[in-house]
Structure formats: structure tokens, C-alpha cells
Subunit: 446 residues, 2 copies
């Protein structure tokens, strides 16, 4: 009898945990991802801001799963899944070939959403992949270079103005770190500009930063950002982004004022949309998508009417089913994806044994975000005592060690630790080299 | 009285040394480079073969020259020089603006030469810049991924065949390291392929490898390569490179046999041509170019008839003028460029003082090249005793420490040392992550 064939699409936090859980079972696993690496996305902003090199925040998938590989039932393929054929039970790859499955786990993650303004993408890169991070790094480092080339002060200002759109964890981290670069890393390295005069503006549509935290921690994060001299502007609705800046609307009493912010470096940290594979899956299975394009799944993470297909991670609109109380949405964070990966694998093995599946229950350990040097906010769930909330230096140290602890592979952990210790004492950011072309000034009369 | 304005083009080994020598003098210096980093080119092949990350072999120019920057007479600009206007004494930049000079030092380096076959570039990337190294890394790592995807053995072979063209130091290092990846890093990480069955072919036009060394060391390098299982083929004239492989001619007695080598991964390490700026300079000054496009300079490194312009490094066809004996060509190695940088700066200062310039004299400390793990050849000049030549493990250790010693900046030195120690013991190459797209199979019926 042949072993059941499990296909896992995507090697993020969800996919890799699913494979780990399944590899000891009597199943044949194929893992397919369009890149060759597992990315530790929570630290991607450090690559974008030249604090870490790409190999420090990513591990070759084959290396991360080398122990699982030894069990002899895992095939890893680097390929892009472009379609899902539910009737034939096979995934279609970019070269037209197919991969069959008996059981499918889709963990294809999320991408940026520009809220219908796809033309903004060229002017405001987001931060999801290593290639994105290199692009942002080239823009940020290159902006100071362009400012140094300017002979007129008026031309210089837009190069010295950095705008981050979206004050979630990534936006807050980007803004805090860019100030650090301008104030601590670059001073004295330029002749015509004073890098400390660079302005970092953080634009947020809602009325507070870090909306996933309790309001008190949001307020503290904002205070920390402002102490670092980030120009935080909440309640701002972005209406246009082009090569020369950002326009946004802000409500003032009954009136709406439009503000124009000239800037040559705009970073997009606002919208997240599920992978386009969600649409393919919905078309093939009749599943419902939520507003962000995520697949609405059953309590056991299966696709309604298709128990052989599970969706996990950022692609899933999943709910947590606690022992008591109402189901609650699972937040789009890495612990959520990891727990879904393990749960989907466990339910798959239950089905193979002829047992009933179990509803997914998300265990929330809390939430943490860094703001900048020695600044962070932490909101830990400590049942049964409730929540432990703190900010500032203690929170920053907690964030530091938590992130190093969860980094994949001993080598990455060790090297990131050394890199950070070095950067902390010297204020240097070693990964400031840029292989990409410089940002080109827009063709204009200026 | 305003200080004389010195313009230095290029921040390789020559340019950076010239700036260092000049920064203590009463001159105003502008250094212009199209990238933001000084690249330690002798270790670039390690980035291409995933052994080191880009920030380990390159330093931001502003950081490398931060001490010189403090003296207040140095401006660094990231810009591309596209033309040289000798009459107006100014360099033209890519955006049409100009940089004036009283004294010009051109250190624009070299690029690849495909010997008139520019269409080969798409199929056989060379290795001069960080972007090149990332491209090669994506090809090499991606080839094993594509081989794993193949379901037919016949399709797999070209992905498992790696061809390096040119057996100079870079070609020999690339070939030796690619074998190490196939034999030591990747085994057990694939399911369908055995990476140890990968074939690395090193093609050389002349009759020996490492032609800059004495024949006895060439022979030892070849023996070391063959012990590592590199397929070394000398006397091979490449006649065609396309998406599916390489064709070359080899002389057999009086006959010429044409050989076709199917391969999807071809690396170009054969030809070097001077920067196109050499042609611009020749057009503007009437200087002569040699066959490789290098500017033929005076004994003091000045351009004939233009004592205000010096050319150094890989762009210069310079001769060394020893105390006794005939002038000899300066080899295209980093010590040559560094010494020319210091000599050009010294001659410039002599001219400012109204003194006569001094002919350049190259001090040859010897030549070393690594072949692979624990294999290298060293040819040291030890006057007045003659030469000290050795190979094997001792040569490899010598190579290792020499390269770490000359790496720019303490941080790079330290981190490369740790990376190498790690790689040596674990056989792992930590920089195996690829942000570039996978190599696409050529459109064909296979």
C-alpha cells in the first residue's frame, strides 16, 4: 500500500511547522516554495535598514529541514504554484507540470495590498521578501547619497524626508530605525548634508499606533517614537503617492484638509492581502474569501466541503475555539501560523487514523513590538494572572532575547547576537552596502 | 588662495589608497564612485559561492574613509562618470552635471570582456560586482533546485554540469569551491539527486592553469584541482555559449575537434577589459589604448601630454621602473593598484611643490591563489634570497591569513574569520539564500 501523499505549499512559519509535525508519520510529504529559504519575517526590517545581512534572517529550507530530510519521506521543491485543481487533486506549477496530493496544506502567506492603487507600488515599496528588503535598503541609503549630490537646499529636502505609511509593528520599527541611522550611524560621514536633519514621518490612518495593542501601550509607543524624534501623524488617509511625495487627508473638526508631503523615499507598511493562491483555491473549491482575500476555514482549519485541504497562516481567516466563550479571530502573527501548522498536521493524522478532527485553539502568549534603540512595548498573557505589560528598556531587552531565541538555527542566533552587540556599541550598521542601482531622481525641471 | 581641487574617479584598491595619501595634504579632494562601497574583490567568489555575505567583503566607502573624512577636505559622491572633458577640466556625470578638477586620478577599474561575443554575457555571467556575485549565486544554487525538479535523468544532466571558463585565480577558486558545495555542503539535502554526482569542468584556452605563476606551481594547482575532482581541460578555445551549453575547439595533433558540453550553469572568468572610461579618456587626450583597452601611461603614471591626469589600477597599462634593468608591465593585482594609488598621489604632491615626478616602481611581494579546501599555491618574492614557493595546506593557511589581514576594517576581518572557521568545521555555507528569481529553463522541447 502506498503512503498518503501530503502536499504543503509555502515554507513560512506555518508550512515549516506542518512539515516538522508530519515528518515522523507514515506519510509521503512534498514541500513546495517559490524561494529557497525560510524567512524570519519579524526581522526583515533589519535587512531593509542595513542592520543585518540577508543570511542572518533566513535559512535555506533544505538546511532548516535537514533532520526531517533524513527520515526519507520528504521532498522539497523550489517552484511556484500557479493553480490548484481540486477535481484532479493536483497543484499546477509555473512550468505547467503538476504535483498530486491526497492531502493538501496551503500556507502561501500574504503579500502587500495597496488598497486598489497598484501604481503606488513603484513609489512605495513594501517589506515582505528579501528582494523587497534590498530594494528598501537601496532607497534609504541612496537617499542620503542623492541629498549629498544636491547643490541646492530646496532639492535636498525631499531626499532628507522619509515617510513610512502604516504604524503597525513593521512601520513603527522602520521609522524608529531610520531615525537611528540618521542620528547615530551617518553623522560625520557626509560633507554637504547633516544627516541628523533628516525627517522621518510616520503616517497612520487610524487614531493610534500599534493598533493591535491596548491603548495604554499604543500611547507609550507613540511617546517613545516622539522621543526618538519620529514625526508621528495619526488619522491621516493617504490619497496619492508619486515619485515626488505623498498626499493625505486629515480631518480637522468638520473640514478635511489635504496635506502634501514632498519625499523621495516612501515605505509602505500599511496593507496586507492574502496570497493570490487564495482566489485560485476559492474558485476551485467554492470557499469564501474575506475582505483581505483570506480563505474562511472550518474550525479544524479545513476548507468547507473539502476536508482534504487545510489552509493555515496569513492565508487563512481562522478562528480560535477556546474551551469557554466565543470563537475569536486568530491574529496574523508568527505564533498563530506556527500553531496552525501543528494543528493542521495533527488533524490530518487524526483523519488518517479515522478519528474526528479537533477545532483549532490559539494560545496567545502576548504581543511585543520594538520601537527603536532601547524602546519597545510588551504585552504578555500570563494566565491565570491576566496580562503583564511594560515598555522602555526592559521591554526592549525582552524583545531582543525573544527574537534571538526564535531565530531558526543556532548559527543565525549566534551571529545576529554578535551583530546586534556590535551595532549597539558602535552605532554602526554593517550591511550598508547596496548592490542595486541608486534611486533615480524623477524627471522634472528641478 | 583656493586649494587645488583633486578629483579621484573610482573607489577600488587604487582610488582608496590615492585618497588616503592625499587627505593629509593641503588639497581639496572629491572621490566619485558609482557604488556606495569599496569591494574586496579577491573574495568576491566567496559571495558567489554562498560562503560569505555581501557585507563581509565590502565596506561602505564613507565608513572606510571616515578618518579621512574628519580632516575636512574630502567630499564623497555616489555618481557615475560618463564622460571626461579635458579642455574644460571636468568630469561629466550621468545626470549631466559636472565635477571640475585641477588634478584628476582615474581609477575606474575593469569589467568583463567576452572577446567580442557580447551575447555570451546573458548565458555566462562574470564576477566583478556584488550584483554579479548574487547572479552567480542564484545560478549555482538554483541549478541544484532545478535538477531536483527534473523527473527525467536526461533533463537533469545539464543542470548537474557546471562549466567555469578561464583558469586564472577567479576561475580556479570558483571551480574548487563549487566542487566543495556539491561534495560537502549539499549531500543528504536532496531526495532525487545526489549532489556529489555534479560535474565541474574548468575550461582554459592556454596550456596550463594559473598562467601568472611559474609552470611548477601551475602543475601543482592542476593536480590539487584534479584531486578535488575538478575536470580540468586546457587548450580549449570556446566558440559558442548559449542557454544550453558551451562549445569549444581543442587541437588534436593536426586536427581540430569541436566538443559540445551541455550545461545550464556557465561562469565566465576568462576575459578582462578596461572600463569604458578609458576610451573616453583616450578620445579626449589622444592617449593610446592597449589591446585590453587600458590607457598607456608615462613612467610617472601621467597621461602623455596631460600631466594633470593620472591613470592607475586595472585601467592603466603601466610599467614598473626598477633601479636596475628594463621596465616590466605591472600585473593586474590589488597590490599593484594600491601601490599605483600611493605613487600617483605622491607625484601629484611633488608637482604641487614644483618638484619633478618619479617613475613608478612596483614592488612584487609574490602571488598566491587558493584552489579549494586546504589547497592553494603561494609564490613569495623574498629578496635577496629569490622566491619561496609552496602549495597544499601550508599555502592554504597562508592564503587565509593574508586575505583576512588585508580585508578592510576590523569588523569585516573578524566576521570573515568566524564565518570561515564555522564553514570549515561544519562544511556549511551560510549565505545560501537567494533573493533573485530561479534560473529559468530555456524554452525548448526538452
Amino acid at each position: 500500500m502506498t503512503r498518503p501523499q501530503v502536499l504543503v505549499i509555502g515554507c513560512g512559519f506555518g508550512g515549516i511547522e506542518a512539515v516538522r509535525s508530519l515528518s515522523k508519520a507514515d506519510v509521503e510529504i512534498t514541500l513546495v516554495d517559490r524561494t529557497n529559504h525560510h524567512l524570519f519575517q519579524p526581522l526583515l526590517y533589519q535587512v531593509a535598514t542595513a542592520g543585518l545581512s540577508a543570511p542572518s534572517v533566513s535559512a535555506p529550507i533544505r538546511h532548516a529541514l535537514r533532520r526531517e530530510m533524513q527520515r526519507g519521506n520528504l521532498t522539497i521543491l523550489q517552484a511556484e504554484v500557479t493553480g490548484i485543481d481540486t477535481a484532479a487533486r493536483q497543484a499546477v506549477l509555473e512550468d505547467g507540470t503538476t504535483l498530486p496530493w491526497d492531502h493538501l496544506i496551503v500556507a502561501a502567506g500574504a503579500t502587500h495590498s495597496y488598497f486598489g492603487h497598484d501604481d503606488w507600488a513603484a513609489h512605495a515599496p513594501g517589506l515582505k521578501t528579501l528582494a523587497d528588503a534590498f530594494k528598501v535598503r537601496a532607497r534609504v541609503i541612496g537617499a542620503f547619497e542623492q541629498a549629498e549630490r544636491c547643490t541646492e537646499a530646496d532639492d535636498r529636502e525631499p531626499w532628507m524626508t522619509f515617510v513610512v505609511i502604516g504604524a503597525g509593528p513593521t512601520g513603527v520599527e522602520m521609522a524608529g530605525t531610520m531615525v537611528e541611522i540618521a542620528h547615530h550611524t551617518l553623522p560625520r560621514e557626509f560633507r554637504r548634508i547633516d544627516s541628523r536633519r533628516a525627517r522621518v514621518v510616520l503616517l497612520e490612518g487610524s487614531d493610534r499606533v500599534l493598533g493591535a495593542f491596548v491603548p495604554a501601550l499604543s500611547a507609550r509607543a507613540r511617546a517613545q517614537l516622539e522621543r526618538l524624534e519620529v514625526d508621528v501623524r495619526t488619522g491621516c488617509k493617504v490619497t496619492a503617492i508619486d515619485a515626488e511625495g505623498v498626499s493625505y487627508e486629515v480631518r480637522e473638526g468638520d473640514a478635511v484638509r489635504t496635506v502634501r508631503l514632498p519625499s523621495r523615499t516612501v515605505i509602505w507598511a500599511a496593507g496586507v492581502a492574502a496570497s493570490p493562491l487564495g482566489r485560485a483555491l476559492a474558485a476551485s473549491t467554492g470557499a469564501t474569501l474575506d475582505r483581505a482575500g483570506r480563505v474562511v476555514v472550518e474550525p479544524d482549519l479545513g476548507v468547507p466541503g473539502h476536508p482534504d485541504i487545510a489552509v493555515i497562516g496569513d492565508l487563512a481567516a481562522a478562528k480560535s475555539h477556546p474551551a469557554r466563550g466565543e470563537p475569536t479571530p486568530v491574529p496574523g502573527v508568527s505564533p498563530g501560523a506556527k500553531q496552525m501548522g501543528r494543528a493542521a498536521a495533527a488533524n490530518l493524522l487524526r483523519r488518517l487514523r479515522g478519528e474526528a478532527t479537533v477545532p483549532f485553539r490559539y494560545i496567545d502568549y502576548g504581543n511585543l513590538a520594538t520601537v527603536g534603540r532601547r524602546a519597545a512595548v510588551v504585552d504578555l498573557a500570563v494566565p491565570p494572572f491576566g496580562a503583564l505589560r511594560f515598555s522602555g528598556l526592559a521591554a526592549w531587552l525582552f524583545w531582543l532575547f525573544a527574537h534571538i531565541y526564535f531565530l531558526i538555527g543556532f548559527r543565525n542566533r549566534f551571529f545576529v547576537m554578535v551583530d546586534w552587540a556590535w551595532a549597539y556599541w558602535t552605532y554602526q550598521r554593517h550591511a550598508r552596502v547596496v548592490a542595486e542601482p541608486m534611486p533615480a531622481p524623477p524627471r522634472s525641471d528641478s
